[in-house]
Symmetry: C2
Subunit: 217 residues, 2 copies
Amino acid sequence: MGNEVQESKTPDGAASVADDELIRSGRDADVTRRALVRAARRRFATEGYRATTVRHIAADAGVNVALINRYFGSKEGLFEACMNRTVDELDPQTRVRAASVDEVIARLLTHVVEAPNADDPLQLLLLLRSSGDENADAIRRRTLERFTEQLAAAAGWSAEVPASQPLLLRAQMAIALMLGLVMLRTATEVQPLASASADQLTEPLEQVLRVLLDTRT
Amino acid sequence: MGNEVQESKTPDGAASVADDELIRSGRDADVTRRALVRAARRRFATEGYRATTVRHIAADAGVNVALINRYFGSKEGLFEACMNRTVDELDPQTRVRAASVDEVIARLLTHVVEAPNADDPLQLLLLLRSSGDENADAIRRRTLERFTEQLAAAAGWSAEVPASQPLLLRAQMAIALMLGLVMLRTATEVQPLASASADQLTEPLEQVLRVLLDTRT
DNA sequence: TACGCAAGTAAACGATTGTTGACATGGGTA
DNA sequence: TACCCATGTCAACAATCGTTTACTTGCGTA
């Protein structure tokens, strides 16, 4: 049943196929590890570190709770693995760079609209969660800062051009909006926002993102 | 030592003096209750519901942990009291009927700009953080929904007017932005957003809030 | 001054949580 | 086919947590 997917670490498609398996089967440490990371990422992102129990994660992944300590050493170790995964995914070297502000806006729109169902927006939420470990917190902050710099660069920001500095602030505001929306749609489930359709969201959201990011207007 | 402040329940000044007392002394149930709510609000806002222990709250307030159950019935009951307090503080001006969307926008701007330094923005975090407890989350969601309804009403929304329904969604997006900004400015401390000056924040933020809330444009 | 009641405390309880150690099982190789 | 080792499970442990109960204390009034 395709559990022998050879993950090569390069094509995003292959990685996401393996990652889409919530319930592992057979005895394969790698598959089990990945199932745990996947389940943990969801839980940590939507419920936070402390409210997430290792028993919930193990149940989501279909394994026994003792395997979390076996493979990651501790709950904290699993959290760190999740964080590292998110950081890797957001790494500039591994991401397809947006060519234009239009693409950026479209991507942000997609994140928010997909938020109740898709993984990517939840991973950004993970960057807002703290386990109480200061080193992890510093990594989180740096990752978010680099992410917003990429976004701003697509809109015309450059660290070397003083006149473009307000763009970085505006990009961070765009991210704040996205994070707030994702959180209210997924973790909090505020109505009518949580069940709003793509059409309902896209119009106001695009207006706002253009105000913040589109310097051509 | 000024512990005999006669609180009359009417002047906000007098209330805030009593509320500024973290450590209560003497035997006065009201003072104790308020000290617990104050301590709890801080803890819940900065650490979240689940990571906050009743023993920490009691220690912060300088009382024995059993008093939380005595006065609020449970941890959850204390959380609800904190929520109600937050709503009351966000409400009073709204209760007086905000004269215009301009005043609403100005108030939202103030919350965000003051975020790294003042108490109130921490209470907004209280509205955002997931609690890991279903009942507490239901309380939180209801509170957010009520608050965004009041905001939308100031901008012209009414539950009885179908044509005004998008305004509620837009109000919720405005709140999402505000909550995201407060989170990035305070808990995550993303730079340069966390240290941005009021001037730097006000211009883009007002543009966005007008796009979302000001139907006269 | 003594008594009663409200406010406060300490200790204990039951449930939950992350972790550990002993054991079970399955798959691959000789 | 049998054996060995990696993977997986179960039961238990220690610590923590919210809650409860029995007791203490302080203040106000008669």
